[in-house]
């Protein structure tokens, strides 16, 4: 492994990492939003919408991201919706992540026992107050480990973005390998950059999990 090549490639990977993180965060933010909506719709059994949410969750979870990206990238322009690679990446990631986030939120909501609601009502709280002060905080602390796992999973999934010509980390590595055959240096930097993005997320996640003490109810 040659040091000068690493130094030469470093800025390119840096640029790609910034793009990867930006697109990843945008997709994750959208996925969280979709997740909250789907979980709420299913938890409160909103007619019609809950069926749509259930179908979406199954389609999204049971198709690969690569297929979803191709579908968006090549399919949408055919029916007249213009798209670009970045939008395609973000939407694809949100489409995939939304279902995982929905399931994480839903398991949290379902984990809060009915007696917590009764207890809140017996203290004179209305539905909104019960949700805000009693159900939601407890549901969230149950969901946190799953949400963090999903965030890490989605950040890793950004590595298929290169398939729709987004110049992310994976694209950069493949490109450099193709041009100069410096395979070792490129792959080394690729691993290092993914670790630099994901390790802080993992560590912050475990600290958060410990702080939330999500282990019990009705204590």
């Amino acid at each position: 492994m040659q040091m000068e090549i690493l130094a030469q490639y470093f800025p390119l990977f840096q640029e790609a990492a910034v793009l990867t993180v930006k697109l990843g965060l945008a997709g994750i933010a959208l996925a969280l939003l979709i997740g909250v909506i789907c979980a709420a719709v299913q938890h409160f059994q909103v007619p019609v919408l809950r069926r749509i949410a259930a179908i979406y969750v199954e389609v999204s979870r049971n198709t690969p991201l690569l297929v979803q990206l191709f579908f968006i990238y090549y399919g949408l322009p055919k029916i007249g919706i213009p798209t670009n690679p970045y939008l395609c990446g973000v939407v694809g990631l949100a489409f995939l992540g939304g279902s995982y986030m929905a399931e994480a939120f839903r398991s949290g909501l379902e984990a809060v026992p009915v007696i917590q609601t009764e207890s809140a009502e017996s203290l004179g709280m209305n539905r909104a107050q019960t949700m805000r002060y009693i159900i939601f905080p407890q549901a969230l602390s149950v969901s946190v480990p799953a949400l963090i796992a999903n965030i890490i999973f989605l950040l890793k999934e950004t590595s298929v973005f290169s398939a729709v010509s987004i110049m992310d980390l994976m694209f950069t590595a493949k490109d450099l390998i193709g041009m100069h055959y410096n395979t070792t240096e490129s792959l080394f930097l690729l691993v290092i950059f993914y670790l630099m993005i994901l390790l802080p997320v993992s560590i912050a996640g475990s600290i958060l999990e410990r702080r939330l003490r999500y282990a019990g109810f009705g204590a």
Binding site: Y133, G218, A219
Partner: protein, 257 residues
């Protein structure tokens, strides 16, 4: 004049396995300042009955009169207001894990519109009253079962209740802790003249705490009256069976020692 009156309560649950008639015409009345016990084996309808009093469950038929006001006729907003003066204590305490003891007691006061500062001051007074002022900043996980139940009692007291409902309040506690919680409830009843309805399957709770008792079996009250009378001279089969359960336990305890 009766303080609390239940008139012909009926409640049927429609489940996937068919209808379950939980209450089949239950009536009783409680005088002001009294501790009224309802005893029965599991499945007798006790939990449903106590939830009908503050309308966590709405009875299919019948009325609940609290100080001559019909609870079943209240609007949702009126009912929520009324519930703030009806405290409820549960078997598993139902404290919020993420909040410390003080904040657990403050929450219902803040919801009722009391300022944070006043709520804290009052909460500390009530924690003092249940003997837990030194645990104000502890989290529920750091407390024993008995201490958690004391927090729940302080939280109920903070609502200045005129009626307290106890749903198996001591069933998750060991015998010694049960004794101290019963003693605390009695003290609260004497000091503040708060009426209580106590639901339990333990005879000891009725004996040590209650003035009057009703025996509930399969959704009906089969016997009621002064505790001394019902327990010394049981008329119904259900009451006799409860006594037998207790005697057996006593004998087993005797041979164990």
């Amino acid at each position: 004049m009766a303080f609390l009156e239940a008139e012909q309560l009926f409640k049927t649950f429609h489940t996937a396995n068919g209808d379950v008639e939980a209450l089949k015409g239950v009536s009783f009345s409680v005088k002001k300042g009294q501790i009224y016990g309802v005893i029965g084996l599991s499945g007798a309808g006790k939990s449903t009955l106590v939830r009908c009093i503050n309308l966590l469950e709405r009875p299919d038929k019948g009325r609940i009169l609290l100080e001559d006001h019909d609870m079943t006729a209240l609007t949702d907003a009126e009912l929520r207001k009324e519930r703030q003066s009806i405290g409820m204590i549960f078997q598993h305490f139902n404290l919020l894990m993420q909040r410390n003891v003080l904040d657990n007691v403050c929450l219902p006061m803040e919801i009722a519109g009391i300022s944070k500062k006043d709520a804290r001051k009052k909460a500390l007074e009530y924690l003092e009253a249940v003997g837990l002022a030194n645990k104000a900043h502890a989290f529920p996980v750091q407390l024993s079962g008995g201490q958690k139940q004391r927090v729940a009692i302080a939280r109920v007291l903070a609502g200045k209740p005129k009626l307290i409902l106890c749903d198996e309040a001591t069933s998750a506690l060991d015998p010694e802790t049960t004794g101290t919680i019963l003693h605390l409830l009695q003290e609260i009843n004497k000091k503040h003249q708060i009426t209580m309805v106590v639901i339990t399957h333990e005879m000891r709770v009725i004996e040590e705490l209650c003035d009057e008792v009703a025996v509930l079996e399969s959704g009906r009250i089969v016997e009621s009256g002064l505790v001394s009378k019902v327990f010394n001279d049981p008329q119904s089969e259900a009451a006799k069976r409860l006594l037998l359960v207790r005697q057996t336990q006593d004998i087993l305890k005797g041979t164990g020692e």
